[in-house]
Symmetry: C2
Subunit: 199 residues, 2 copies
């Protein structure tokens, strides 16, 4: 199974009750947003009483932080795995295809990752911001490599980096399964991104 279609795996979250709370919180936060989600809603999705949540997590925000941190790490891993080998064109195409498909395939957690940052504490936000900068750095580097070997023509590297990432990130906003196959979308976006930078 390729990185593009790898599922998110939650076996490392133990015990099972903590895992049910986490996955229930992802669904609830993605559907309704962090602020509109109640601890009662999360607990009932996990089949338990509101009080039981606090045995596993000290607060609703902590649940969000664990989701956000894990989601950011997963997105960075997918991007790096897809952009390691080949020419700048191959790496850019691989990165955009994989990062886009990840946002479609995992649009629930991607929505939490991309749209609930403001609900994190400043300390927790700083921690995920490190990962966000690493994501940007990967794209910026492949564009620089393509400019260096003259396979890309890029007028504004920081602006183009932001645009390429932005295109993939916004998938989390609008994607639903009826809008098509994540891998096909990734292929389209890889092509559009390459067109943005080709000589």
């Amino acid at each position: 199974m390729s990185a593009v279609t790898s599922p998110l795996v939650w076996e490392h979250v133990q015990p099972a009750a903590a895992r049910r709370l986490l996955t229930g919180a992802i669904d609830a936060f993605a559907e309704r947003g962090f602020q509109a989600t109640t601890t009662r809603d999360i607990a009932s999705r996990a089949g338990m009483s509101p009080a039981a949540l606090y045995v596993h997590y000290p607060s609703k925000e902590r649940l969000l932080f664990e989701i956000s941190l894990y989601g950011h790490r997963a997105a960075l891993d997918v991007l790096r795995a897809a952009g390691t080998d080949g020419s700048p064109e191959e790496r850019l195409r691989g990165m955009v295809a994989a990062f886009t498909a990840w946002h479609a395939e995992h649009h629930t957690i991607a929505r939490v990752v991309q749209y609930e940052l403001a609900a994190l504490t400043p300390e927790h936000l700083a921690e995920v911001a490190v990962i966000r900068r690493a994501i940007s750095a990967e794209v910026e580097q492949v564009l620089a490599d393509g400019v260096a070997d003259a396979s890309f023509a890029v007028d504004d590297p920081p602006g183009t980096t932001l645009a390429v990432l932005s295109l993939a990130i916004d998938v989390a906003r609008w994607y639903t399964p009826h809008r098509g196959d994540p891998v096909a979308l990734g292929a389209l976006y890889a092509d559009l991104a390459h067109r943005m930078v080709q000589t």
Copy 2:
């Protein structure tokens, strides 16, 4: 003053107290989100007590709806004004430049327009959805015109329409004034969008 830099004007909202509530709500909803914003916060931004809000608006949701409706109409107007004349390339560039610059210049209301749809009642959502479809139709048409006269090469017109709009819409998520001039950003994005479709 061009459509790209035209300010949003609120003189039509009367009396002044209703206007202060509306603009205060835009700032609050953009900063914190609809759910996290309290009627007390909106009222205090307008310099009045929580109860006074209900003289002007029957609910917090109604305030959101009026903001969302007006914002959607403004965005559609800007898109249409910029995409009326010229070749498909000129129209596409004009539309992307103007729509992008609008999302940067008016990123507060744009954030409400793009990210608070889920907080509208089903009836109010249906009303703004009409405007959203009109926005998509404008872009889809210019791509079709460019394909028809062979100035564009587009493999997947609906997917590319979505991508072009998505790029501009996502500006509302990340833009802050320190990230540069809205008009310069519009020019960059117009170029990137044209590269996506050129033969």
